[in-house]
Symmetry: C2
Subunit: 437 residues, 2 copies
Amino acid sequence: MANFLSIFTMRNLFVLSLALNLSLIMRGFYEGEKHAPHGFSAQKADSGLEKEAHATQRTLVSLSSYGQDDGEKLINLDHGDPTMYESYWQQMGEKTTLVIPGWQSMSYFSDVKNPCWFLEPEFAKQVVRLHNLVGNAVTEGRQIVVGTGSSQLFLAALYALAPKDASEPISVISAAPFYSSYPSMTDYLKSGLYKWAGDARSFDKEGPYIELVTSPNNPDGFVRHSMVNRTGGILVHDLAYYWPQYTPISSAADHDLTLFTVSKATGHAGTRIGWALVKDPEVAKKMIKFIELSTIGVSRDSQLRAARILEVMTNSSQNPGRPESSESFFKISYHLMAERWQLLREAVNGGRFFSLPDFQQGFCQFLNQVSQPQPAFAWLKCEDDSVEDCESLLRGHKILTRGGRSFGVGPKYVRVSMLDRDHNFNLFLKRLASIQT
Amino acid sequence: MANFLSIFTMRNLFVLSLALNLSLIMRGFYEGEKHAPHGFSAQKADSGLEKEAHATQRTLVSLSSYGQDDGEKLINLDHGDPTMYESYWQQMGEKTTLVIPGWQSMSYFSDVKNPCWFLEPEFAKQVVRLHNLVGNAVTEGRQIVVGTGSSQLFLAALYALAPKDASEPISVISAAPFYSSYPSMTDYLKSGLYKWAGDARSFDKEGPYIELVTSPNNPDGFVRHSMVNRTGGILVHDLAYYWPQYTPISSAADHDLTLFTVSKATGHAGTRIGWALVKDPEVAKKMIKFIELSTIGVSRDSQLRAARILEVMTNSSQNPGRPESSESFFKISYHLMAERWQLLREAVNGGRFFSLPDFQQGFCQFLNQVSQPQPAFAWLKCEDDSVEDCESLLRGHKILTRGGRSFGVGPKYVRVSMLDRDHNFNLFLKRLASIQT
């Protein structure tokens, strides 16, 4: 597998990425049609690699257009909108197309025999297959609970884990910098069951608590473990970014309650599908109850679509010796992320204005090689003494990011999405370089 | 339009319904295939009406099988699972098939220019078109907010309408019998913003309150208005069943905040899509915020599917003079419901054991005729003195229903779904008759 990877240089992959992008732009012309075209077949995607020379010629045109920046366009890197992945899925063509006749999946019920009655069996099957391939989570002895994105599952977990008859709400904590939505998601309904209690590092209240462990962490990308580790602590592991393109897969996660989401794994954010792997059946039952009460289940259409996407993703990454391994989602995504991080570090190191976290490399069991952490967000720090608020500075250059205060730290930091389309990412690099000169 | 309707006798429609059902069963044999078949085209659906004689021959076979009841099969009429509509959508064939390529609708954002950034423009367009055709709700000057079913929109409405800095949670009330999930949905998170306060008829607390008005009402089917009508009252209108197949459309609803759901309108419960029509943009903004925090938007795949279904539904019911009006969703559904209610009343009137509500007929602006209320649920009462708990009695006959206590009234009542598949509905009638003999 390592041999296979060495065939691709950064430059090869960059060119491939641009080629993919060009075809996306070309395809854009057809988007106005009512029914999406299917002509862009898997065969064409295969031949794309062999015709690299031809692709290079074509991409020179688009490459030059990426150089343009009239300085007026607002680049929104505030959200982690994973549009970078569109090119890959377009290349995979109609293999991933979902066809749903009008009379299908009309009932509320997906599987009356499963405690999670709204879980599509095909989606559950593909989740298990994917984890078995990647080796990032133990699925045996777990109840899979599907959710409307992992946000819903996060709330379901709070509901399931909070004691029902306690005299006061259970404390919910996470080590800063923490995911910026945790405080508002926990507190927006002023629940009597749970309450945001801030940074896990400074948490010293007696009694039970729920600690949220996001690993790799959003926003800073570091691998994390529980910070408190005290009696009465209940852990929720958000492993949305524990995939080979973002971080080395060191072992299969084996926690009590683990959350994943399609949006960060495959890039299908608009599909709103996440899943939880839950060890205790009673906790799973309460999460299921939460989803019944809040949305009466989870879109079956979206689960079927997610199942198809996961199936193709797993197929693409199996059997490294076979020709289709050149389509491996994880390998291609790993190299795209590697390329972006390299370009970003070059831009940042070109001056003394900004800095980025340094990560330790590790051995990735899935890629079977030493690999680099290359998070879905860049946790950028304004080092210059003259800048107090890094978010404002970048906004002045028409780059929208999310400032450190949202994550429980100071305004010297910003979180920048690394998953936007090539065009926006390249504009971002250009503007970052211009700030430093 | 009235002339057109008179062409169909109850018997014609019953036979048509059974024919549709047979084809559904036949089609079931092909369901094992990975890609759903498209061969069942719209043309075939059209010719179904003309070939009624042939269809009658075929359905005699299945009709006799409907007569079988080994008494062992559990009939679950507890939920309002709208599987009755599968036959219609199957007949409509591939017109309603949604095709989603793997690279489409990947972004979180559906429409960055809309305050409801996760609302698919095509879905919004079809919602307006449908209301304009049916005349059941004013859409002008309203913000459409899409939700993961109307459950999510109900919770979003409570969040949006509850004062944020009140000393105590606002009271949430509804007149009994009320939708059984209202109390648990309101209270499951022990919110400090709102609290279930029971039956609107006996509500006498001072101060602001939110009254839920479900019309036609679930479970009993009656048209409703606010029961309290006092200063400080805020109304949420749940019009899930305000469609011509269930109740006469007397006028276009013109409330501050109105909820609808695809599941009861078209039968696509598994799609989990509802919508709210909201007059006050500030209230709409808060509802949108709620959906951001709870699920970061609403499945785009499901919205696109719902848009397709609504489009075909509206097209089918336009232009009564054109041949496709024989496919009119609302006319066919109206007659199916009429037939079911007639059969149910015959079964109930066959003894003195049960009773049903009596409804007043009214003029339906959409059907352009006097029409009968024929609710999606039957609110059945056990009249016999020997029966204290009607739900238990029916459970003893392997019929699952929901007892009156869940709706805030006594156990003499049960709610029975009228929207199940023909086979189950017919078994239910058979068992109901057998209880009375």
